[in-house]
Each structure stands twice: as C-alpha cells, then as structure tokens.
C-alpha cells in the first residue's frame, strides 16, 4: 500500500515536471491553455451552458444575433442557444477526438512494434492487413459502416480507430527495424531479456516521440473528420457536436438569412481545438525527442547574455603579459619569424 502511494506520488511529480516543461515553450503554453480550457468546458458543460441546448421549443428566441442574453445568438429554425450548443458540442468533439487518438496510438504502436521486432509471419500478417486498409478509400467505407453498424457515438470511435491505426503502425515498424539493430537491444537480448521486455522496455520508449506526435495529430484530425461526418449527416443523431451544428446551420439556412454567428461558432470551436492539439503535439514531440534541437532556445540564451560580462570573460583569457606588448616580442624572437612579425 505504501509502495503504491510512493508510485502515485512519483507519477504526480513526473506529471508536474512535464507540465512545467510544456509551459516553458511559447507554443506549449498556447496549446496547454487551449486544450485545458476545452477539457474544463467539456467537464463542466452543464454549469457553463446558460440554456438547455436540446431545447427546441423556444418559439420566441428564433434567429437572434449575439447579445447579452444569448452570447452567440440563437438558431433560426429552432431558437436554440448557440453558446450552450457549442459548450455541449465540446464534449462530443473532444471525446471522439481524444479517445480515438489514444486508441490509435495504442493499437498502432503495439502492432507496429510487434511487426517490426518479431518479423516473419507476424510482420507479414500485420503489414498485409495495413496494405489492404490503406488502399480502401476511407470516406465511402465510413459511410457504409455507419449505415450498417448504426450511428452510435462509440461505433463512430471504433470505426475511426479501425481505419486510423495503419499509418502509425507502418511508421513505427520502420523505426523499430532501425532500433532493433542498435547495440543496446542486442545487449538486452544477450542478457536474456524476454521479447516482451525488450519490446516494451527497450524499443517502445524509443518510439515515444512518434507516438505522442501521432496521438496529438490524429486527435486533431479525427475532430475534423467527425465534424465532416456529422456535417454529412452521418454522426450520432442524438448528440450535439460541432459538425452537426454546422450541418444544421447549412440546412437551416444560416447563409440565406445572414446568421453568421451560427456558422462562425462551431467553426471557431473546431479551429481552436485542432490548433491547440497541434501545438501541444509539437511541443510534446520536442520534449520526447531531445535531439530535436530547439534553436529558438539557443537564440533566447544568446539574447539574455550580458555582453560586458562576456567581454570580461574573453579578456580574462588573455595571457596577462600579452596586454600592451607588441606581437613581435612575445614569440621570443626566434625561428619562424619570417616576414609576418617584422
């Protein structure tokens, strides 16, 4: 029990250090603020949203532009509060995006490492599956699958994961093929480490920068894809998502009536989420892969230098006898003195 608590404490400390590292980047700061804002909004949606976003019975509030009562206005056909819809839509978009992203990272890295390290039949099997998946056009397949399996929220996530892991597995596999031949992996093999140990302890951490990057990127990508799917009317019909808001704005005639707030709000939501995740992904990749040199930090260090201190350091390096003594004399005046010293 005590050991467990120690482990938890260490994890918390590690997480704190990671956050501090992210915070040290300008981009990381932006990403962290955006993403945590979204997460908070998603968690506390019922407390933040001023109205019931599902309430379509408000006949009196149809098509209002942004005002103090309705921060982002209302819809034209049903009179729903757009700000409340946006807040609730965060839940769906974030959940679909992050869950799929994490699942893709998990499945992709696992299969990628297995294919790369185990090789042979396993490699062949996994890679042929990848090949087949990669040549199937995604969107038609998604349309077919949603129609067959239903448009439940979790089914949509499942479809995204099933189609999304292939690219990552491919990339990870080629990295593993390189790592497999490094001396430390060979040393682990010689020391009698099991395959599982080598894969999880020695190879997987080496691919972490790729995995982290891909998680962030695919999360962002899937948020966009989900919006696209909902826009086409293939999303979960019972949940409010940003894509569905856009679809309703389209069918409800937002453009026709000039209700710009109806289109702008979900668009902005998608933009912010994707942008935030991208920033966070970039910074996390840099942290996971220290070899990616941050030239910006070197320039920052250079700007912070005190030039008089540097000059003082340079001066301190002089041989004291050299100061004020003409060059010709300190060489001792023997040999090699051809031409240049005279």
């Amino acid at each position: 029990m005590k050991r467990l608590w120690m482990g938890v404490k260490r994890r918390i400390k590690g997480a704190g250090e990671l956050l501090a590292k992210i915070w040290a980047h300008k981009q990381g700061k932006v990403g962290l603020i955006m993403v945590s804002l979204l997460v908070l909004v998603a968690i506390f949606a019922p407390y933040i949203a001023p109205y019931d976003p599902y309430d379509v019975s408000q006949r009196t509030t149809k098509g209002l532009p942004p005002s103090r009562e309705h921060l982002l206005g209302t819809t034209i056909n049903t009179g729903q509060d757009i700000f409340s819809m946006l807040v609730y839509g965060t839940r769906v978009s974030l959940l679909v995006g992050v869950t799929s992203g994490v699942c893709i990272a998990f499945v992709g890295s696992l299969l990628g490492v297995a294919a790369g390290y185990l090789g042979g039949a396993v490699d062949n099997l996994i890679m042929r599956i990848v090949d087949i998946m990669l040549v199937i056009p995604t969107l038609p397949l998604v349309i077919v699958l949603t129609n067959v399996l239903g448009r439940d929220f979790w089914i949509i996530i499942l479809i995204f994961v099933a189609l999304g892991w292939t690219g990552l597995a491919r990339t990870i596999r080629s990295l593993v093929l390189v790592l497999k031949n490094t001396n430390y992996v060979k040393a682990a093999e010689l020391a009698g480490a099991s395959r599982w140990q080598i894969m999880t302890r020695h190879i997987l951490p080496g691919t972490s920068h790729l995995v982290i990057m891909s998680t962030a990127l695919s999360s962002a990508g899937i948020m966009v894809a989900e919006a696209g799917l909902s826009f086409l009317g293939l999303g979960d019909p019972t949940a409010i998502s940003w894509g569905k808001m856009l679809a309703e704005a389209q069918s409800g005639g937002a453009l026709l009536f000039g209700a710009w707030w109806w289109i702008l709000a979900p668009g902005l939501g998608i933009f912010l989420a994707v942008f935030g995740f991208m920033r966070l992904g970039l910074v996390l990749e840099e942290i996971a892969n220290p070899r990616m040199k941050r030239t910006s930090s070197v320039y920052k260090l250079f700007r912070s230098l005190d030039s008089s201190y540097i000059e003082e350091v340079f001066r301190s390096m002089d041989d004291y006898t050299k100061i004020g003594v003409p060059e010709a004399t300190y060489g001792g005046g023997q040999s090699h003195g051809t031409g240049f010293e005279a």
Partner: protein, 335 residues
C-alpha cells in the same frame, strides 16, 4: 625544422577564443590559442577529450556556428588571406579546394547511399567544374595514388562494401583531391586498429609530402604524434601549455602535463605491472580552477601556481611552455 624558416606560412592564428553559453554556464572551450603552420609542415595538436582541440580546428575552418559558439580571434590568416573577412560563399570555395578536413569516423563521414567514386567525383565537379568522365578519371588516379588496389572497381563500391582502413583511405583521397594547401585531420586514425592505423598514417604522411600540403593533425595519441608530426602543440583545458618540435618534446618535455602524458603511454619494456596515470580529471570547462589550470593535478604545484596563470614562455629555439617550474630544462636544445 630548417625548411620552415624559408617556407611561406600557411596558417596564422592568433588569440582564438571560443565560448559556448549553455543553461548551466559559460563553457570556455578555447582560451587564446595561437597556431602557426608553415608550408609542407605537419603540426600536431595534442590534448585530452575536452581540451578544445577539435573546437580549435573547426574554428580554423570556420565551421563553428554562432550561435551556439561565441568566437573572438585577433588574426586568422590562411595563405595570406584574412579568413575573418570572407563571406560564407567565399569560404565554401576555400573549403575542400584549399583547405580540407578528414574526420575520425569514416563510416559516418561517407554517404552510405552513394558510391565512393561518386563522392570523390563531386569534389572535382564542384571545384573544377569537370565533366563526369574527367572527374572519374581523376578519381581513379587519386584512389590509385592513395594505395587502393583495383581503383576502377573500388570507385563503384558503396562505403559499406569497403573495410575500415579502405574507407579512411577514401576520405584521404577526398581530402587530397584538390591538392589543398592545408589539411586538418581530426583524429584520423582513432577508429582504426593499430596495424591499419600505421598504414593509413604512412599514406597520409606520404601524400602530404608528395602533394606539398601542410597538415594539422588533431589527436590524443602520442604515438601518432611521434611518428608523423614535425612540431607539436599540447593543449590543456583550452590553453596551449607547450609548443615544441617533435624531437625536443619527446626527449625533453617541459610541462608537467606533457611529462604525465608520456608516462601514461604503456611501454613494452616496462617492468611495472600498473599503468602510470595523471591523478585527477580534466577540469570542467564551466568551472576551471584558479591560477594554472593544471595545478590540482600537478605534483610540482606551488602557491604561485594556485594563484596565477603562467604565460606561454619561450624556452629555447621554437619552444614555448606555460609553466612556472618547467621540467628537464637543462637538457633542452642540445640536439
């Protein structure tokens, strides 16, 4: 070193200082180094890891980027040309053509997906504008000169198809391609085993004499120095501590550090079971000791050594030493 007197000076470096600002403090890599290299001369720059010898050689080539490096130099003249005034483009004309570099690791210095012949061809095509055929002819001749059997066939080989010694020879061929005035060899034989090392050094020395180039040999291996160099600079913690013709240095080393280095070379005739070593370690480049940088490891250190840094003092013909208490002085200069 009689010929040096009448020969032109190829490299003149005065007061080179390089520091690297880091998050942990200033790294004082090079602290006021002077170097002279004359025509057809082989000069060795000797020192431990972290003594600043590689940084010095890279600064001479102007290969150090700023940032991360902060560089000050009073004079950097190459064949009468002031290198500090040249643009990066002019510098690129000089690199490879008049000044070439040989790196330690032949495997990583060569492009693994290009045949070695093609990589040498590039030098001719870049600097002389040769046609493919003309460049290849020169390449084959060059490879033959450097002692590679069946040069025509070898030119079509990829780096991984050659042995370590052959790869190093290919690098030599590349460096000598344009008959440069100066070649900087940064630990050229460290990655090779001793027998191959001797062959490569012999080739290097032979080519250098034959082509009339000067050589700056950066190394930590005293046996390499003894067999190849004409003059030696010994570096410690960013400063030159001793400068001498190779014969004088080995017969009568003046600086306690040089003496320690030589004592550390294991000899076949030694009766002792244990290796001699210099006590302590190289000082951290961020936090160097007061006074003489060597004093914490020096058995002869006095109060004065702890307080002030000795200057580089002339000690007879063509010799300088940075020490208040130079050793074996009486025997110097008689040979």
């Amino acid at each position: 070193m009689g010929e040096g007197r009448v020969m032109e000076q190829v490299l003149k470096l005065r007061n080179l200082k390089v520091v690297f600002p880091t998050d942990y403090g200033l790294i004082r890599a090079v602290e006021g180094v002077d170097l002279d290299i004359y025509h057809r001369e082989c000069v060795a720059l000797v020192g431990e890891s972290g003594s600043g010898k590689s940084v010095t050689s890279q600064a001479v080539m102007r290969l150090l980027d700023s940032p991360p490096a902060l560089i000050r130099v009073d004079t950097l003249e190459f064949a009468g040309q002031d290198l500090t005034q040249l643009t990066e483009q002019q510098m690129q004309e000089i690199r490879g053509k008049e000044m070439a570099m040989i790196f330690q690791d032949a495997m990583t210095s060569l492009n693994p997906v290009m045949t070695v012949g093609k990589q040498i061809d590039e030098v001719y095509r870049r600097h002389y504008g040769d046609s493919k055929q003309a460049a290849r002819e020169k390449t084959v001749k060059n490879l033959e000169l450097i002692g590679i059997p069946e040069p025509k066939e070898r030119a079509n080989a990829f780096p991984h198809q050659l042995s370590g010694g052959m790869r190093q020879r290919v690098l030599l061929a590349m460096a000598f391609a344009c008959m440069p005035k100066l070649i900087i060899a940064d630990e050229p034989t460290t990655a090779l085993d001793v027998t191959i090392q001797a062959q490569v050094l012999k080739t290097l020395r032979g080519m250098q004499r034959g082509c009339g180039t000067s050589l700056l040999l950066v190394t930590h291996d005293l046996s390499v120095v003894a067999s190849t160099a004409d003059r030696v600079y010994v570096m410690y913690a960013g400063k030159i501590v001793e400068k001498a013709p190779v014969k004088d240095l080995f017969t009568a080393p003046h600086h306690p550090y040089t003496v320690g280095l030589m004592a550390a070379v294991p000899k076949l005739s030694d009766e002792k079971k244990k290796f001699t070593q210099i006590p302590g370690t190289v000082p951290s480049p961020i936090d160097k000791p007061s006074g003489c940088y060597f004093h914490p490891r020096c058995t002869y250190a006095t109060e004065r050594c702890r307080r002030e840094m000795p200057r580089l003092t002339p000690m007879g013909p063509d010799r300088e030493v940075r020490c208040f208490h130079p050793l074996s002085v009486g025997r110097n200069g008689h040979d």
